[in-house]
């Protein structure tokens, strides 16, 4: 028998489950140990410990009306609910609730692609639709449209956008919440609200205009527990004509500063509209595209010292750049050539000694073989650059020649830092020292990781901690993670997203004005969800009756 929701007696719980079954059918209410165990987070940092967050049951509706009815029943019996879309948010939480004992509302059966509008490049989907599903629906329709997908293609466009997920293609499409247009939300009282023009009955522009009349509410339904999102519109990209990826290489440590500045200029001017990728062949940092580890003993010895001039000299002699940046551009064939020529000139005039490698130009649509070929040479990236969903990213943690004894998953510490070379240097120093102090493994070369530049005006560090399923080690890693959150906050950096295990810590780091942000969220929560039934604790927002528990 799975656990009960805290404070709920067996009689009420049983009555609620019975009414859930009347709503969705007995086949779609899961109560047995083995069925409820499928709602554990496979990458839980608590796995197997007393603190692991577990569901009490799960219910899987097929329609918005069923979701409404589930919410009404939950209010009647004060049952905490935890909605999931596809439940694949591994690394930031799977299908397990934040508050143990919640009933998971599994929206996977709501898996309809409701609309694909090729003329205006929009779509409308339900939460159970995966990126694979949306991609397949577009292919079946023959529409010349691209989705923008994150690394794992089995996730939900709605779930990913609501958790501020990111992708790899063109400019603003990479920001999945930023490129949504219109939401349908079941509120905690069971009513249905539509945002944007969807507020007008029979709206003809729900997926075409992002604002409504009055306050723009969409944001309060992301990373929150203010409702259950049952539909969401997204803007898609018209398939571009061509793509090119070129690399700029620089050879001095401090060249990173103008390298990032010029990259920002190109991004902010839409001269380069793809995702720039920083690397450091000389430091062999994460993100390098310059090949595998160097076994030259002189190089290895230099990496152990703090003799930067000697390392720079070695790099110049061996033609190993200190930093690289991949510049990706999508658009008409002739136009992207001109854009790259301009980008190259900007780098050359700003960074003496910069060198350039011009990559292959691809034209779309790609053949399947081209997509495969492009993917084979990479661990991350590859087909996601072209909005083609896949699961290749799991090679960063699965059994591979360079990781013959994999663990059981990972989760990310991911602070947002300023998009400048100076900030990257500072964050590298701070987190390298922190990793040493906390006993966490890190690359030994002096840079913890290079940031990802998904967002156009900020940078994001991604530091993975392993799920070992060793209770002691996982506990130590959780403590270390909490310290990293504090250290980041001391330097003015907050995380963009975090697993349930750390959502209180991250929300507490956003403490400006005596935690005004958290307190305002709590005010909204108490007003719209007085029984505290929707995802208690999500993003550190607890209902009144559970605060301080």
């Amino acid at each position: 028998m799975p656990i009960l929701p805290p404070g709920i007696n067996e009689t009420d719980f049983s009555a609620a489950l019975g009414q859930f079954a009347e709503t969705v059918g007995t086949n779609w209410v899961f109560t047995s140990d083995e069925d409820v165990a499928l709602y554990r987070d496979a990458y839980s940092p608590f796995w197997g410990s007393d603190e692991e967050k577990l569901a009490s049951a799960a219910v899987a509706p097929e329609s918005v009306e069923e979701v409404q009815q589930i919410v009404r029943i939950a209010n009647r019996y004060r049952i905490p609910l935890y909605p999931i879309s596809t439940g694949k948010n591994y690394g930031y939480g799977g299908s397990a609730p934040v508050h143990s004992g919640s009933v998971v509302v599994d929206l996977k059966r709501m898996n309809r692609v409701l609309e694909i509008d090729e003329r205006n490049a929009t779509c409308l989907v339900e939460p159970g639709v995966s990126y694979f599903d949306l991609y397949n629906a577009i292919q079946e329709k023959g529409a010349k449209l691209w989705i923008d997908c994150p690394d794992p293609g089995w996730g939900s466009p709605i779930g990913n956008a609501l958790d501020h997920g990111l992708g790899y293609t063109i400019g603003h499409f990479r920001d999945h919440f930023g490129s949504h247009c219109g939401m349908e939300v079941v509120l905690p009282n069971g009513e249905v609200l539509r945002t944007g023009p969807g507020g007008v009955p029979g709206s003809k522009t729900w997926q075409q205009y992002q604002y409504a009349f009055g306050p723009q509410l969409d944001g309060i339904f992301s990373q929150s527990n203010f409702g259950i999102v049952t539909k969401m519109g997204f803007w898609l990209a018209p398939e571009p004509e061509a793509f090119r990826e070129d690399t700029v290489a620089v050879y001095n440590h401090d060249d990173l500063i103008p390298l990032v500045d010029v990259t920002s200029y190109l991004t902010n001017s839409s001269i380069s509209n793809g995702l720039p990728g920083l690397g450091s062949p000389l430091l062999q940092a994460i993100g390098t595209s310059w090949g595998g580890p160097d076994s030259d003993p002189e190089h290895i010895a230099l990496l152990q010292t703090s003799d930067r001039p000697a390392l720079e000299r070695y790099g110049r002699e061996k033609n190993i750049p200190y930093w690289t940046c991949n510049i990706k551009t999508y658009g008409p064939k002739e136009v992207i050539d001109a854009q790259w020529a301009h980008a190259r000139e900007k780098f050359a005039s700003s960074i003496p000694g910069a060198t350039f490698t011009e990559g292959e130009k691809l034209e779309f649509p790609l053949t399947y073989e081209q997509g495969e070929e492009y993917q084979q040479g990479r661990i991350a990236g590859g087909r996601v650059d072209f909005g083609i969903p896949n699961l290749s990213i799991f090679q960063i943690i699965s059994r591979t020649p360079w990781n013959p004894n994999p663990k059981f998953g990972h989760y990310y510490f991911s602070p947002i830092i300023p998009k400048t070379g100076e900030a990257i240097f500072e964050a590298s120093r701070v987190f390298t020292e922190a990793h040493d102090q906390l006993g966490l493994p890190r690359p030994p070369q002096g840079i913890t990781s290079l940031p990802a530049l998904y967002y156009q005006r900020s940078a994001m560090l991604l530091m993975a901690l392993q799920v070992t399923r060793n209770i002691e080690v996982d506990q130590k890693n959780r403590s270390a993670f909490k310290e990293l959150v504090k250290i980041a906050a001391e330097h003015g950096w907050g995380e963009y997203r975090t697993p349930p295990a750390f959502q209180d810590d991250v929300m507490n780091a956003y403490s400006f004005g005596n935690n005004a942000l958290r307190r305002f969220n709590e005010t909204i929560k108490d007003a719209i969800d007085p029984n505290g039934i929707i995802s208690p604790g999500k993003s550190g927002i607890w209902p009144k009756n559970m605060r301080g528990a």
Partner: protein, 108 residues
């Protein structure tokens, strides 16, 4: 006469069973393509295939579809419990009926 009718009846039953099995296996192939192939298809960028190449060092095929030792109960257990970094699948993703079909498809 009775025996003859019974014989026809048995033949029809076998035919129906055969068709049902073929349908199951076709459904199993579809389930494999949708849920398993992104990791277990042929190719260097398939994490499951690469992992099994290393794990088995050629003693067994790395491709699940080429294996001849995947007993249905084993397939069903792995799908519902996960292994290594592969998570388990909920019944809203792979139903029990689809799991039976997948197990039949991969069975020797």
């Amino acid at each position: 006469m009775v025996r003859r009718i019974a014989g026809i009846s048995v033949s029809l039953s076998l035919l129906v069973m055969g068709q049902a099995l073929a349908q199951d296996i076709e459904r199993g192939r579809e389930v494999f393509q949708y849920w398993c192939a992104p990791c277990h298809d042929d190719g260097e960028a398939r994490p499951g295939t690469v992992a099994l190449q290393i794990l088995y060092s050629g003693e067994k095929p790395a491709l699940l579809e080429e294996r001849t030792d995947l007993l249905p109960e084993y397939t069903k257990t792995i799908v519902r419990t996960g292994i290594s970094i592969m998570p388990f699948y909920r019944k809203t993703e792979i139903s029990d009926a689809d799991l039976d079909a997948l197990a039949a498809y991969l069975a020797p």
